[in-house]
């Protein structure tokens, strides 16, 4: 009986070990093929188009970097800088406010509060796009509830502006920061604070010399993550401000919808390439920082 079982066991185990390599490839292949088609082809098309220039008169195409240089001039440059400015400002504000909020939650001993804030952050950080834009239009837009009740118009308030957009972006960026920074804050040992106090350090000195250096990579990582998130945002801005605030995503959308001069379509692709480069840079900064901050949490 036992003998038969072991023999059956080895009989099935041996060939399955040999067959494993082939099923491995076979199971992964569909994923690779579909991404190659659905992601690879558009990505290559974008790259190719960004460097292609079409002569309007002859219809001949040639490769050059004139689209890219064009995308870094005039209105396009203004939009690119506008996006960078908006993303950097809203990411910086959210990083600071998110740190305060997360610290308030982590240091409170209420487990229920902690769970509630983290769950709410998970939900709110996913709250972007169109509904967010309309919630703020209903609140602070031209005929918004608060705008009318508080007569904000007289104070010159305008939601459809750079500062209005910043205020809206905080709504999904702060929760994202809370989610990113909470594990790092939880990694700060109480012993470190006690050790600092025993050595006569003040509250401020503890933060300056112990807590912030340890949190540094996480904070910076959180900031670039928020920056990337704000930089790529399109739906919120499009549904809210149309194109009254110069942003690179809105410019690309305009160019794709044919709202610009003929022959400028490839500039949209060049702008897209600019965006990919910025997003790639963000990831290149974020991933190593994240790995570094993980060390403290182990």
């Amino acid at each position: 009986m036992t003998d038969a079982l072991t023999r059956a066991g080895t009989a099935t185990a041996a060939p399955s070990k040999r067959r494993r390599r082939a099923p491995g490839w076979l199971a992964v292949a569909p994923l690779l093929v579909v991404t190659a088609i659905a992601f690879g082809i558009p990505a290559l098309a974008m790259l190719n188009g960004a460097f292609t220039v079409k002569d309007q008169a002859t219809g001949a195409t040639s490769y050059s970097i004139s689209n890219l240089t064009g995308s870094l001039q005039g209105a396009y440059l203004t939009a690119l800088l506008g996006s960078v400015k908006l993303s950097a400002l809203s990411a910086a504000i959210s990083a600071v406010l998110g740190l305060f909020l997360a610290q308030a939650v982590v240091t409170s001993r209420s487990r229920a509060l902690r769970e509630a804030v983290l769950t709410a952050s998970g939900v709110l950080a996913n709250f972007g796009g169109v509904p967010l834009a309309f919630a703020f239009v209903a609140t602070l837009g031209n005929s918004g509830v608060l705008t009318q009740r508080l007569a904000l118009k007289d104070t010159g308030w305008n939601l459809y502006s750079f500062s209005g957009l910043t205020l809206v972006y905080l709504y999904f960026l702060i929760p994202l920061m809370v989610l990113t920074i909470t594990p790092a804050l939880e990694g700060l040992r109480t012993q470190w604070r006690e050790a600092a106090q025993n050595n006569g350090a003040t509250h401020a000195q503890y933060w300056r010399h112990v807590a912030l250096p340890v949190l540094g990579p996480s904070l910076l990582g959180g900031f670039v993550l928020l920056f990337g998130s704000a930089f790529a945002a399109y739906a919120t801005a499009a549904a809210m401000v149309g194109s009254s605030v110069p942003l690179v995503t809105l410019q690309i959308a305009d160019a794709l919808s044919g709202n610009v001069l003929v022959g400028q379509e490839n500039v949209a692709l060049a702008l897209s390439l600019d965006m990919v480069l910025v997003a790639g840079l963000v990831m290149a900064v974020y991933l190593p920082l994240q790995r570094r901050s993980v060390r403290w949490l182990a």
Binding site: R20, P42, P131, V145, L146
Partner: protein, 276 residues
């Protein structure tokens, strides 16, 4: 200590104010007509042109996307656990690449490819394919785009779920009991992955239902695009629909949080890069 508590409550109070006021104001905005409370905006929604068709389209797209994502990812992630570890970096890179390309840049690439159809391919069979995937009744091109956009979250959700399961032992046990490889996968591995599969499906669902950028720029009208289209003429109703769609999405995500343990779906890099 008392001062610290005061400071903490001030922070929490301000945060609550900032996050709750827009939600409350949206509800007020959608029910308040000349200082009278009316649910007119909500009751008119269903009768408004385009509501049903756009919602149905969004749900169909979501269903197709979820099916395709799971079909592609489940065999691949299980195979990685079963003894193809050398493929792991490949799959990880493939599933993270979409993070580096913002949706608007992605759709710029897609629309360039779609233009090749009439420009270069009109005499080849590929032309028919390009026409077919743009069928306005069911634009499969959107499904392909959404699959790519959902890959990073879905992969992470499945990978995290698989980490908690000892797949090789499970499969070996099933095989020793006489199960075929397919049976082992379907009846031993998948039931253990229920949480991870739900997780991946919900994240994909939330992504597809809220997606605006790609659908709008390719000229289709699923739900999110429809809301923006009616906002010009029916501001009140567009806010009402936003409130409703928020509630639905949040209930879904909270259900997910409850199902998958305590904490909310911790939003990884990916979502931060793509959703808004």
């Amino acid at each position: 200590m008392a001062r610290l508590n005061l400071w903490r409550w001030a922070v929490l109070g301000l945060a609550a104010l900032y996050f709750l006021v827009p939600l409350g104001a949206s509800v007020v905005f959608s029910v308040d007509v000349n200082d009278e409370v009316t649910f007119d905006a909500y009751s008119r929604i269903v009768a408004t042109g385009g509501f049903v068709s756009s919602l149905v389209l969004a749900l169909e797209l979501a269903a197709a996307t979820i099916a395709l994502v799971l079909l592609l990812l489940v065999p691949a992630t299980v195979a990685l656990r079963l003894g193809a570890p050398r493929l792991r970096p490949v799959v990880e890179v493939v599933c993270s690449l979409p993070l580096v390309v913002p949706p608007i840049a992605f759709v710029a690439g897609i629309s360039t490819v779609l233009k090749w159809g009439p420009d270069y391919l009109s005499r080849t069979p590929l032309f028919q394919t390009i026409v077919a995937i743009q069928n306005p009744d069911f634009p499969f091109v959107l499904v392909l785009a959404y699959v790519v956009m959902a890959l990073p979250f879905a992969y992470r959700a499945l990978d995290a779920g698989l980490r908690a399961v000892d797949v090789p032992t499970l499969v070996e046990a099933a095989r020793s009991c006489g199960a075929s490889p397919a049976q082992a996968l379907l009846r031993a591995v998948l039931p253990n992955l229920r949480g991870a599969l739900l997780n991946a499906s919900f994240l994909t669902l939330a992504l597809v239902l809220g997606e605006y950028t790609v659908a709008h720029l390719l000229g289709y009208q699923p739900f999110a695009v429809w809301i923006v289209d009616i906002s010009g003429s029916q501001a009140q109703m567009s806010v009402a629909v936003s409130v409703l769609s928020l509630l639905v999405t949040w209930v879904l995500l909270l259900a997910l949080a409850a199902l998958s343990g305590r904490r909310a779906p911790s939003r990884s890099v990916s979502q931060g890069m793509t959703t808004p």
